[in-house]
Subunit: 351 residues, 2 copies
DNA sequence: TGTTAGCACTCTACCTCATTGAGTGCTAAT
DNA sequence: ATTAGCACTCAATGAGGTAGAGTGCTAACA
């Protein structure tokens, strides 16, 4: 049986109502609140059909209906009206991003903060794998006798450093020499392209003093590892405590334990990350993680030009206000471009 | 009335028991579990005295007694036996610290992680105000046409950087000149000592090109602000959910909201920070923050030589295992020295 | 004088039972 | 096809009743 227009409207009423109130919706409520010009009995018949088709269900016999995962799916795909953020919400996002950003990851973190504030759900963000980052500059700087700093800078403006210990006999001039060799050999490579043959080449050029080269190479790999390692930010976990879905301490505990598993979340986000800028919605059981079957997750990956900012996800009860979350995610996209350009300086990566 | 020896032992029994079970302790339990050779009736009389003196109280008439804040205070000051960590716990701390540390703040974070794991309470850590950090080295490194990196390194091994935009006309040689001036004028100063007169002096030396100097000075102040800004780390908040004190969702919400106020926590920790390495215990109402009146906070400030690592605090229900927390905090202190020396390189700050 | 057995008393936690009300499904009339 | 009407179901609420833990007090005892 296909959903005729009336059934669709009734289903939409039920879901809209349930998203607002978190209470099972009865036939009388639907008849009253939304002016179908139909009696509750008629609505009741339609609701029975909708239930049979799997779009809604009853918590128990004498309760109203609540949407099933399938119901939400249909709602999200076909019924939902796109909504607009209020002016205040837009300003809130703008001001949240209006802080000096020293690092690209910090921007992602700010996005996450703003997102949890606007949606009132929990927001998570994962930095992308930076294997495609191109090394733009390497510096080996003497700090004092026996200590030096290795600095690696990438095209996406990431700066990482590593403090190393070198023999006290090394002269600044020698460090400059090493510096030049490193730049000559490594600049322009993605960090994925740095492998043994490349390293060997460098070793040959600086061959005499293994004792100097080792710590420096270690410093470089340390920096590269830092660049490549994915971080996960989490904001607004306590927002969830305001929803009746989490009025039970065990539920809260389960949720918070899940949110504590940063690696798991990071992997999940990276799996869901799309390259085409689209938004992915996973509703309830559609999530792979068992403990998330009462939650929905809306994710998208932000990128500006060829710079990946990261993947952001909003997690809330399945009863979440999908429309608003989508509005927030899309509005955010339009705001990010400015910030990235401000950070990188125009044309840095559009040569 | 002073506490005679028997009263002390009974009080200790009650508190020990309550710390373990979280259940009000009755006279019979005290008589049975701890072999005083006294009947429950006698214990009952003593308990009535202890209650009158304010060390214990009854939740309601037909319940046993639970310690009051005053009771805990007496326990902590006079009754508590010092305990030792188990071998597993010690190993756990060691392995938690056994990760490559790139920054001093990262060590503090690891300490906090280990502390929450061992105590099973919530651990917070605040980085100290670094106003006394001495600038050891400043580098201005060209990255590409029109972009440069300002790097500031302190005696405590903190490295901060700031990416800046400079006129494309600036030559590398000129940057080296600026670099030398900055080092000459700023190295050896604490960040507190950097003020307008010093800045002016630099301005005079590099006077011709304001356009170059401004972004560089901004970069330097940006780094200094990063160094000086206090960060707060929080670990193991979900541990609290395992205690019956937090079986109520509202309590959980209150607690988590409090833990979300990082600035507040940071200020609190810094206020409690002692320079002499002693441990401060704040029990229940002794805490200034209203919402913490059901919690106790144990804090100490770690420093190695003249390097401040930070202030760490363990927060738990007033019924916390004070003895264990103290043992963990003290054991940690002994382990930190190694890590700091490993990080800074021996003698870096003991010239 | 300190200790203890005994007892009446108090109060929470828990169980059971009845009531209420929201909502349903079905049937018969329109 | 729609709807009024009605019997039915079930969670939520609240009232009583009971059990058990623990107390304070008293009187007897060493």
């Amino acid at each position: 049986m296909l959903l005729d227009d009336r059934k669709k409207r009734i289903l939409q009423s039920i879901i809209d109502d349930y998203i607002n109130t978190a209470e099972p919706v009865g036939s009388r409520t639907v008849a009253r609140k939304h002016e179908f010009g139909l009696s509750s009995a008629t609505i009741r018949n339609e609701m029975a059909d909708l239930e049979e088709m799997g779009y809604i269900k009853q918590p128990h016999t004498s309760a109203g209906r609540i949407p099933s995962d399938q119901g939400y799916r249909f709602y999200v795909d076909q019924l939902m009206k796109t909504s607009q953020l209020t002016v205040e919400e837009m300003l809130s996002i703008k001001s949240a991003l209006d802080v000096k950003i020293n690092e690209l990851n910090q921007l992602l973190r700010q996005i996450s903060v703003a997102m949890s504030k606007i949606t009132r759900y929990t927001s998570m963000a994962a930095t992308p794998e930076r294997k495609n980052s191109v090394i733009k500059n390497i510096q080996v700087v003497p700090v004092e006798r026996g200590r030096a700093l290795v600095i690696v800078i990438t095209n996406s403006g990431i700066v990482k450093n590593s403090l190393i210990t070198i023999p006290e006999t090394v002269t600044p001039e020698y460090l400059i020499f090493v510096n030049n060799v490193l730049n000559e050999k490594l600049v322009g490579l993605t960090i994925e392209q740095i492998n043994m043959p490349v390293i060997s080449e460098i070793e040959v050029l600086i061959s005499p003093s293994q004792e100097v080269l080792m710590p420096i190479l270690n410093g470089v790999t340390d920096c590269i590892n830092q660049i490549d390692s994915s971080e996960v930010y989490l904001e607004g976990t306590i927002n969830m405590l305001n929803y009746p879905e989490f009025s039970d301490v065990d539920k809260v505990k389960d949720f918070l334990c899940l949110m504590d598993k940063k690696e798991l979340l990071g992997r999940m986000l990276n799996e869901l990350s799309q390259n085409n800028g689209s938004v992915t919605i996973k509703i309830g059981e559609e999530n792979k993680i068992e403990k998330m079957k009462d939650c929905s997750l809306v994710t998208t990956t932000y990128r500006v030009g060829n710079i990946a900012i990261g993947t952001i996800g909003v997690i809330g009860p399945t009863r979440m206000d999908y429309s608003k979350v989508l509005a927030a995610i899309n509005f955010m996209k339009s705001k990010i471009v400015d910030e990235v350009e401000k950070f990188l300086g125009k044309n840095l990566d559009h040569p």
